[in-house]
């Protein structure tokens, strides 16, 4: 596949690619300082040389650092954090309703009628006939 070959070609010359990218960045900033007419600027700050380059880089760094700091305040947590939702909670006796619970209150006909049939752990305080 040609596309794979192209990506392979670029990956093998990563150093050159990086240098080209840096050259583009430098050219962009230089062009902004010397070539671009600032008349369309909305605020005085934008007239600062290469203002938007600084804005882009600073913004990116700010976003990453702030977000990571925010995430480590306790926002980022283990993947199974919510996973004890119904099942595990039923085991510790705090489930809302299990099928047995519902049956015992006569809301549903017993499934097959077999008393030994296990539909899930029985909550401790579930029965109060």
């Amino acid at each position: 596949m040609k596309l794979v070959k192209l990506i392979q070609f670029l990956r093998e010359r990563l150093k050159t690619v990086t240098l080209v990218c840096i050259a583009v960045l430098v050219l962009l900033a230089v062009a902004d300082i010397f070539l671009v007419n600032n008349d369309e600027a909305h605020t005085a700050a934008e007239r600062f040389p290469a203002f938007w380059s600084i804005f882009g880089f600073g913004g990116c760094v700010l976003i990453i650092i702030f977000s990571k700091w925010f995430g480590h305040l306790g926002i980022m947590t283990r993947e199974d954090y919510y996973e004890d939702e119904p099942a595990a909670a039923a085991a510790d006796g705090s489930a809302a309703f299990t099928r047995q619970d519902v049956e015992s209150h006569g809301m549903l006909p017993p499934k097959g009628g077999a008393p030994g049939e296990n539909h899930g752990p029985t909550p401790k305080g579930g029965h109060h006939e």
Binding site: L3, L25, F55, G74, M76
Partner: protein, 605 residues
């Protein structure tokens, strides 16, 4: 009711109902035909008010209010319906297509609704049909995510309904038009605020947004492609119609734009990351609606239009990865460029479009809102939205492609073995979406002519040297920051707590309440019931039992004997052939109807 006007949603609803009857070999053609018919219908609709009905001579319903604002949204929704259906064309299960078509029908119905009752009906149709797109993934998590999605939307629907009824009872008008907007913006009442809460919940404005990443990350691979387009953008439409110029929306929009960006840094699941970027992008539109100038409304509509295409494309790319590899987490993916290079290119085009790169669709739409902010001298709006766009490129343009298709992470062997380019129809949908993203970016009149204020849009030129340089500098220097801080951005296998914590963990408080105080009361009431209710009840029961034994049983036994006798004779009529029985039933029914007609005619004479 005026002369017949074919509602575009009707095409989808009838099409969906007929779908199961279509033979398998015609199915693919049929699946494409219906959305194309919808698109054609929307293209041919003249402006005006159609489909007016008076329900019970009391409530006026307007099913078809076609104007510039509804046309642009109707156009893009129906276009996205074609792309979404094409993307999921190989899905065998009819029910999935039916759910998505009902969902689109709901969205299109909302867009053309001219009054609150119609709007509400279609609004709820959207919620109740889209939930199936989550459930059809059939994971245990999807079931719960679906229920949460539904509950949140029902809550939003109740707020909307409450506000509507309150508003209409006090103002005496069910119309959802410019006069409502005037009232809502300049003389807001609690009723209009309730309606706004209903709308901004669907637009995923924090703190009412957590349903979005929760649901979109959990839906089927093609379900998310539909979901990312319709719910939030229909809400943006409703906000444009009813709340253009509401100051608070500017603040909320800017918060949204940044909120989504912050959470996207932390996210490990690519589709949840994209979902957070929906929040961020819809933030631009909400801010545009809040600014309320003609330029800003143009911008909000243009951005919604462009957003539906590029976000659909991004969800298609990540959906293709999920569909082919079974994985959507960055920590389980990496280096896929060898296996899915074209999916990478399409996703990158989506990423460049959302980041507003010159020549891509976001560039010509997002900048309208930012310019409107600067023009209104709300500099903080302009700067903060530009900051958010740096964040957008950081994640969607760089993080998503980098960590799925490159990166140092090596996926598991089975993930790697399964990875391959997706089926032709998924590729075709991505090609068309990519082409449209580039076309919109390169040829601005296509989009600008459709906007609500086309004359103003024609005067707007995004391709000025200053704007191009401004954008390129922001984006490319963001790229520099990305590669310098790459180590910090390597995803962790974690999830991030969001506002859904309150209803996912908050239920424990409710349960505690149910177990302790409520149960105490329950026991007490039970005891009271036993003493005051049960004892007299038993006495009555004993008396009625005697009555039952002696009188009723005699009668019932006699009746049962008679019925058994009839049954024994009828048994010979019933021969177990379903069709014959049905034919017999219809024949009897027909005979009865004819007899009735003849009898009534005789009486009439």
């Amino acid at each position: 009711m005026n002369s017949f006007w074919l509602h575009p949603s009707l095409i989808l609803i009838l099409g969906a109902l007929v779908l199961p009857l279509v033979p398998a070999r015609l199915k693919r053609g049929y699946l494409l035909l219906i959305p194309i018919l919808l698109f054609a219908r929307i293209l041919t609709m003249a402006h005006g008010e159609f489909g007016q009905v008076h329900v019970l001579n009391k409530w006026p319903m307007v099913f078809g209010r076609v104007d510039a604002l509804s046309s642009v949204f109707g156009y893009i929704m129906s276009l996205m319906c074609i792309l979404g259906t094409l993307y999921g064309l190989h899905v065998k299960e009819d029910a999935q297509h039916i759910a998505s078509w009902f969902y689109v029908a709901g969205s299109v119905g909302c867009i053309y609704a001219g009054d609150f009752i119609t709007l509400f009906l279609f609004w709820e149709l959207m919620a109740f049909s889209s939930v199936f797109l989550i459930w059809f993934r059939r994971r245990r998590e999807s079931l719960w995510a679906g229920y949460r999605y539904l509950l949140v939307h029902v809550a939003g629907g109740v707020a909307l309904l409450g506000g509507m009824v309150w508003h209409c009872k006090t103002q005496g008008s069910w119309a959802f038009d410019a006069s409502f907007c005037q009232l809502a913006v300049h003389h807001a009442t609690p009723a209009t605020y309730l309606i706004m809460i209903g709308f901004i919940l669907n637009a995923a404005v924090p703190p009412l947004h957590a349903w979005l990443p929760d649901a979109y990350g959990e839906a089927t691979f093609n379900g998310s492609v539909f979901m990312c387009a319709f719910t939030t953008k229909t809400a943006v439409y409703a906000l444009c119609r009813g709340f253009a110029g509401t100051e608070i929306l500017v603040v909320l929009g800017v918060i949204m734009a940044l909120y989504g960006v912050v959470y996207a840094v932390l996210e490990n699941d690519c589709r949840r990351l994209l979902a957070y970027h929906i929040i961020s992008q819809v933030g631009y539109m909400v801010a545009g609606v809040g600014l309320g100038t003609q330029m800003a409304i143009n911008g909000a509509c243009a951005h919604a239009f462009a957003h539906i295409l590029y976000k659909g494309l991004l969800f298609m790319g990540c959906g293709a990865v999920l569909h082919m590899t079974g994985e959507s987490k960055f920590t389980e993916l990496g280096g896929l460029w060898k296996k899915m290079p074209w999916t990478f290119v399409f996703t990158l085009i989506g990423g460049l479009s959302i980041s507003a790169f010159p020549l891509f669709s976001g560039f010509v739409s997002k900048s309208m809102i930012v310019s409107a902010g600067f023009e209104e001298h709300k500099y903080w709006v302009g700067f903060l939205l530009l900051l958010a766009s740096a964040g957008t490129f950081l994640h969607t343009g760089l993080k998503v492609p980098y960590f799925i298709w490159f990166g140092k992470n090596q996926p598991k062997k089975e993930t790697w073995d399964r990875a391959a380019e997706p089926p032709w129809n998924m590729n075709a949908a991505m090609i068309v979406a990519s082409a449209l993203c580039i076309f919109i970016g390169c040829y601005t009149p296509y989009l600008y002519k459709m906007l609500p204020y086309p004359d103003l849009a024609a005067e707007y030129h995004p391709y000025t040297a200053y704007h191009i340089f401004e954008t390129l500098q922001i984006l490319l220097f963001t790229g520099l920051g990305f590669f310098l801080l790459l180590k910090k951005l390597v995803p962790d296998p974690t999830i991030s707590l969001d506002m859904d914590w309150f209803y996912r963990k908050g239920w424990r408080v409710v349960l505690w309440f149910a177990r302790k105080p409520v149960q105490l009361v329950d026991t007490w009431v039970g005891e009271l019931y036993r003493v005051a209710g049960l004892v007299p009840l038993m006495l009555t029961a004993r008396i009625s039992g005697m009555f039952d034994n002696e009188v009723i049983d005699g009668a019932v036994d006699g009746l049962a004997g008679t019925i058994r006798g009839i049954g024994r004779r009828l048994r010979f009529v019933q021969r177990g052939q379903m069709q014959q029985s049905l034919a017999f039933a219809f024949a009897v029914a027909a005979a009865l109807i004819i007899a009735y007609l003849v009898y009534s005619n005789v009486l009439a004479q």
